[in-house]
Amino acid sequence: MTIGANTILVLAGCALFGAVAGATGTFVLARRRALVSDVAGHAALPGVALGFLLGEATGLGGRSPALLLTCATITALLAALCVAPLARLRRLGDDGATATMLAGSFGLGAALLSLVQSHSSGTQGGIQSLLLGSAAAMRAADVAALAVLSVGVLVALALLARGLALIAFDEEHARVAGVPVRALDLALIILLVACVVAGLQVAGVVLVVAFILTPAATARLFAGSLRTTAVRAAVLGATTAVGGVLASLVLDTIPTGSAMTLAAALVFFAALVVRRTPKIARRGA
């Protein structure tokens, strides 16, 4: 195993993404929006396919990353924003709205992707890699874009942390106190979608959820303020991402995205075993 310049680049990119996704995930979990990340991840798929078709149609070429990611952002954002109004429909509820959006956007993605695959040009490789992620193929430009996005998300989180904590724990109080609940919710969803889109190349549409949920869920096992939990989740996310990249380097055949997800899951279950005192077990039921 040799650590070359490229490996360091990949490590830096994955660590950065792990940290940002962990921090964002903490606020998402606190606001009980865990599965909106799942919807956003799956809804990025039709966006990517749409971007490819648009690129082919306009002559920009199907693999223009800017176009693919822009379209992915738009569809992911639309789907994530649709969940709340759908959930207000009679008897649909949060879980029903999430399942509907998930099925619809994933189905649309599959249908559009089949159109892409029946396109004659042989330039669809970039799309396959977005399904399962291809962290190992990151280049300097990708890492730079990821870094800009990550710093933006982190700064926004730091600025909004107070308001987000307020609406997460006591929405009524926040509303009465004049905190702009809707604007903050919208901001949280935008940050979440930014995370998901940034993570497409690192983890792919299915596993990107793990980066947002697992480190945050692990950090939540230990008591602390929302801010400390977010910091812990960020550290955990970065550490498990680096661990996963190194593991996939050593074992060679395991894809990087899966290795990072498995590392995060292992840490979660280890923490769960540590924290599961008999007291919690009794009160858990």
């Binding site: 865990a34 649909l92 189905g107 869920a217 894809p255 769960l272």
Partner: protein, 318 residues
């Protein structure tokens, strides 16, 4: 016509059977507000598929199906344990567990021989409806004999789906009372002893079987839609649990068949050579049916009650 019998009818049969298997049991999940368990199970079966192959070393579909069922059940039980132990919502637990299982599956697939198991993540996600076809039988003496040989030539996944559909309907029908009590009032179910816990366990096993059997044919993208969407679309019209199940099937069957036919034939009618993925199109149509059904229900109420606004509207603060 021959094309229809050879290609379209088996696929339609597969979709209809998968719909009966998944949507019948999906109604219970929706009533219990666990619609997302299907999504998690559909992703979590991946390591089981590969594991079944690795353990038995054969390419027998039964080994892979058994592995998938075990993995799906393990994921659901693990998620239940995590939700209980961490006291976070079941959504978080499902998310953590199913991504871990999916990652494990991808890792196994990549390391242990994607070459030997002819399985690729694409096929698992998007299904292989297009490969279900019947070689049209030779000319037979009578229509009856012809139909017999057509049925005998049906591919194996369709028989698996038929078995899953029978199990699903039988479970829902025989345990309606118990499952209803457990879904609506778990503490009463527990206290009265009228609805023992094993009824829920039977339902979970049957659901896993239905999901595993279906996703082999139609892919996990459609399984998610088949489990949740019909029940969600039927919910506003339902007066009873059995009524909801019957309505969900009656509403979803024409939508699913229509969407399949559109996906299979519309590109040709429009004169393009592009192919549309059938599973994805059907999933999309079923999902679109949910808000449309709610809209239709609003309209229906207005007509039935003589233009009186619905109670839902009355509840809004003035």
């Amino acid at each position: 016509m021959n094309d229809f019998l050879a290609v379209d009818l088996p696929a339609l049969l597969a979709i209809a059977l998968a719909l009966v298997a998944c949507a019948t049991l999906g109604n219970w999940l929706v009533l219990r507000r666990e619609s997302l368990a299907a999504d998690a199970t559909a992703h979590a079966v991946l390591p089981g598929l590969v594991g079944g192959f690795l353990v038995t070393g054969t390419r027998s579909p039964w080994a892979m199906l058994a592995g998938a069922a075990i993995a799906g059940l393990a994921a659901i039980l693990l998620a239940r344990f995590v939700a209980r132990a961490t006291r976070t919502g079941s959504a978080v637990a499902l998310g953590v567990v199913f991504t871990a299982f999916f990652a494990l599956g991808v890792a196994l697939l990549e390391t242990q021989g994607a070459r030997q198991v002819d399985l690729d993540p694409d096929c698992v996600l998007f299904g292989s409806l297009e490969t279900l076809f019947v070689a049209p039988p030779e000319r037979e003496r009578s229509l009856g004999a012809w139909m017999q040989s057509w049925i005998a030539a049906l591919p194996r996944p369709i028989w698996t789906l038929a078995a899953a559909a029978v199990i699903a309907v039988a479970t829902s029908w025989l345990l309606t009372k118990e499952l209803t009590v457990r879904a609506f009032d778990p503490s009463f179910a527990h206290a009265s002893g009228a609805a023992p816990r094993w009824t829920d366990d039977v339902r979970i096993v049957a659901t896993t079987l239905a999901i595993v059997a279906s996703f082999e044919a139609v892919g996990s993208v459609l399984v998610i839609a088949l489990v949740a969407c019909p029940a969600l679309a039927a919910a506003p019209f339902a007066r009873s649990v059995r009524g909801q199940i019957a309505r969900s099937l009656a509403m979803a069957l024409p939508i699913a068949c229509g969407a399949y036919l559109a996906a299979a034939h519309a590109p040709a009618w429009l004169g393009t050579t592009h192919a549309l993925n059938a599973s994805g199109t059907v999933a999309c149509a079923l999902a679109a049916g949910v808000p449309l059904a709610h809209l239709a229900h609003r309209v229906y109420r207005v007509f039935r009650r003589g233009a009186r606004p619905s109670p839902a509207l009355n509840r809004r603060p003035a």
